[in-house]
Symmetry: D2
Subunit: 334 residues, 4 copies
């Protein structure tokens, strides 16, 4: 971090500031020019309050040279991280299709969907057991029973499973879950992130609805700071003023994150758009811009068959999408 002092700064003011910076554990390299003095702050500046320094009367400019995230930064770890999820690899050129229903509803349902998506090329099975719902009166998922059903489907199909955790106290129930998902609403539930940093299991971290990429990386940093570096980032739409789609899928996050971090980046077009007719085109676009994986909602249950389904694909529709994604992947990989 560098700090440029204004031309009229007195020696007393300068020493006062330098002393205060040193108290915070930093080395300060002073570079006196004709008009300006530049302070180079050396050491761990990630905890320094830049806004506070910038607001000082004697300061002309402050600039971070390094981003506040470190362990997840591409600068400190140039090679792609490859995350192994029960034998399935994501990142570093390894691509995975993740598919399954929004909620696990019954043994019959989850096994049928698991078989269908596997046949179409999915390598991981998703399904909600603990469901974060805006309303306390909405169905909150089958909870522990839902995880049991996912494990049953895993036994039959061999697909590793991913499901969402909402409370660190539930961790014992997640013992056999291959990839633990942190939902968008919990992206800055720092207490949960800290707990997940202490275990040795892959984490799927979803971007919050109104969180910047920097904040997403800071949340990944919370997990890595605890010792767990098996993290996959997921863009799933951000909140804007547009109302034809539920959220706005920010696909530029894929190449931008690939530049900033070594962690794999996947896309969830189902939650992002909320419209099943847009899932295929957005999955194709995600593959084209280099995503390391795509997570898609697929259902085959009768009640939804009544209608389009708000955002889920049928197994047949998923099969079409999987083919197109695969063909695009081949071109992009060249």
């Amino acid at each position: 971090m560098i700090t440029v002092l204004k031309p009229g700064t007195t020696e007393a003011q300068k020493s006062h500031l330098i002393d205060w910076l040193k108290e915070q554990g930093l080395d300060v390299h002073v570079s006196v020019g004709q008009d300006y003095t530049v302070l180079g702050l050396i050491g761990d500046t990630s905890h320094v309050d830049m806004d506070l320094i910038a607001s000082l009367d004697i300061v002309e400019a402050v600039k971070r040279v390094t981003e506040p995230y470190k362990q997840c930064s591409r600068k400190f770890h140039p090679d792609d991280t490859v995350v192994d999820i029960g034998g399935v690899k994501i990142g570093g050129g390894n691509f995975a299709l993740i598919a399954g229903p929004c909620s696990v509803e019954s043994e019959e349902q989850i096994i049928a969907v698991a078989k269908a998506v596997k046949a179409s090329g999915a390598s991981l099975l998703r399904g909600g057991a603990f469901k974060p719902r805006t309303s306390p009166y909405d169905f909150q998922g089958l909870k522990a029973d839902g995880i049991e059903l996912l494990l049953e489907a895993k036994k039959i199909t061999g697909l590793p499973i991913v499901t969402e955790i909402m409370n660190a106290n539930h961790l014992p129930l997640f013992e056999e879950v291959d990839l633990i998902q942190v939902g968008a609403r919990n992206m800055q539930n720092f207490e949960l992130l800290k707990e997940l940093g202490r275990i040795d299991r892959p984490i799927l971290l979803k971007r919050g609805l109104a969180n910047t990429l920097k904040e997403l990386l800071m949340s990944a940093e919370y997990i890595m700071a605890g010792g767990n570096d098996k993290i996959i980032l997921c863009e799933r739409g951000i909140r804007t003023f547009e109302s034809y789609t539920r959220n706005t899928l920010d696909l530029s996050a894929v190449p931008m994150l690939h530049e900033l971090t070594h962690l794999p980046v996947i896309i969830d077009p189902s939650h992002a758009t909320g419209v099943n007719r847009l899932v295929g085109p957005m999955a194709a676009a995600a593959a084209a811009c280099g995503a390391d994986g795509i997570m898609i909602e697929v259902h085959n249950d009768p009640p939804h068959a009544l209608c389009d389904g708000a955002q889920s694909l049928t197994p047949d529709q998923f099969d079409d999408v999987a083919r197109k994604v695969s063909a695009i992947r081949e071109i992009v990989a060249k």
Copy 2:
């Protein structure tokens, strides 16, 4: 909830839908007109997936007649809720100034600030003990020691205290905290909300950075559904594209929430703007549009004295603001 079926709907399609709705525990009142059939859904429709019904081919329109929140709705509870916080009332014409430092730093600091803000008319003391920080490397608060210091300041000044909880497992440490704050980042940490619904203590629920008022009320509903109706809502700025201020304070939330709910509504102008020079004008505006309370950051510690302070007021500045707020309150109350 009413559902209008399209003119061409067949009897078979109609019965199919009605059966499915009844399976969900609803009574269905069918009203057949010349062209359209209107289904009146009676019973607890708060858990019905409106998007799913709207997406059916045979459905022309769906409209909720009641909002999905109930216990916090003004419709079901026309009188203002008055929350009693260790003897200090908020709501129903009772107004409270809440003040204190962003973080509790030392006994000297918190006691000095508490005395100063009490002298200026504050009736509650705020101070962060557990701090939600974007970066794992930032100061995370004094934690349990911070709560001890707040209680020390309470003993000396008599001011009830408010501080933030980030983890339901910490509840034993909050035994003597008068008002427990849920921060913006945890507004949709539903597991935490459920736990807070089970205790008998006032809760200060802050609106998330990108959450709608409807979502804020649904989160309050989570707490009320558990049996705790001592809730105060707090608007603290939402995320927009504007960059001169940290967030955009949505003051229209005050009269809008007063119309929708019986719960008290307070404003936090310090976090909303992030600029201490704007805190006074925004506090005055909050009082003018009917807020039931205002929460302001006040510090008196030397390191911050170096500068403006990003968003805190000095005790003298707070005293000026308190006077103006009080005068405006008198006019508005007339």
Copy 3:
């Protein structure tokens, strides 16, 4: 449009409302059911103030059955519109790469860039002559001279040209411009749109920074209402809270607009991201989700060579992007 009246509505209230609706030139089809009365409003409801009706005490629900746009709606014109721009077709399966510098700077520059992008497969040349600049002190473009230089480049390369108009009074200068661009900031400059509706020339209409897709279509409707149906829509990023990219490219606009309208839809990844390293991946993604064209900034001038260029590609970089886009197009077209 249908309007559902509440159960207790009196005959007098009903007639009062029906009379008022008829005064507005609508036929009203009344369908009386057991509880509810449904009014079907027939005729041109595009000018009816839905909010006003919805706010009436006796109204339970109002729902538009048709969108307020008509001529640009897919419903009224199921086949894709193909726009012919000096012999180059866009839409209905016809794809075009549009490339060129942000601003026309000199004859040498524009001709060199035109030759380079043509060699890489561009079929239209873009270049700014009249530049909308946030600051009155910024370079405002070469204006009429810039158009002359574009025409010179067209004569040499045969590429039809596209450039932005900011004032209807400048139309005489645009006599030989093949495709006239309306910039994002003028998307709701209705006076300009009306003038462009009166001419017989293709129009490239860019989405405003904070405009919904519905508003974009309503602006297209302004042009079509005047008689000009040669319109190409362009998504170029919307304004969000994310700051690593200049705007957030909303690629789901492509399949969504294809569903709503018959007009061609193109993508401008250069302005959307503001970062040249993201242009290639976003162009690939645009092709993958079915865009009818992509518009890319390409420069070859020495001053910019000093640096990355904030958002422009070099001719070599453009050549790579063009190849990848072409390969992806082949898969998607299958």
Copy 4:
């Protein structure tokens, strides 16, 4: 503007950059320190592309010391500007209530409303003659006839009038309009702004739906650069994700703009909220945070009497609001 060069920058690179900066008409003051070299750019840097310089490999940091706006900046003109509108002053402690209907509909209507709002303390009459409508099929206003009716109402009541211009070619019709409004959708219609810079008439410049305060000031700068310094800024709500209100009123814009500029700042709570029940509280809040004026929609026409009116007040409601605003003004002015 200062530019900090990285430690390893060579002399050749440094001279190359300095030469290029000088070519742009700047003086460059070089300050060489031990590690860093700081370039102080002196002269008119308002047209310098900061992003371009920041993107150079050799540049560590760039910081504007002065904002890109000059004539409207408080720094260059510390005293408040007072705008005189046909004898009514706004700014520098002078406050004005502006009221009237959304659209001028008839002589009877505009005169009745004008008399009513004058009686309640309004000092300016607003009314739409040329209406910017999202749909080409919506009522576009009475145009020239509407202006005639406003002038008629002015003759009878003595209230100066304000109405919106959408096209510089209409200026001859605005000869007798006291305050010419530029609507939110035209805030960056730079061609219109330039024309208004050439006349000697007060301009009411509304902030665009997704424009920053900096962009609003740059648009004011366009008008001032032409020689017209009679500008009043107006905040009227920005676009966010919240849907209970039409837009989100950004009241912190009032004190923030007062710090940045000497121009008067007024608030339009009617368009901001779109809900008439919120207009009174937001008007009170605007007065409390120091707005120089408030513009409110008031109607008295029968068709709207059917309902609440989406955002207009009745004359009686306006009278109440005017009283409260006046009382708050007295406290704030102290």
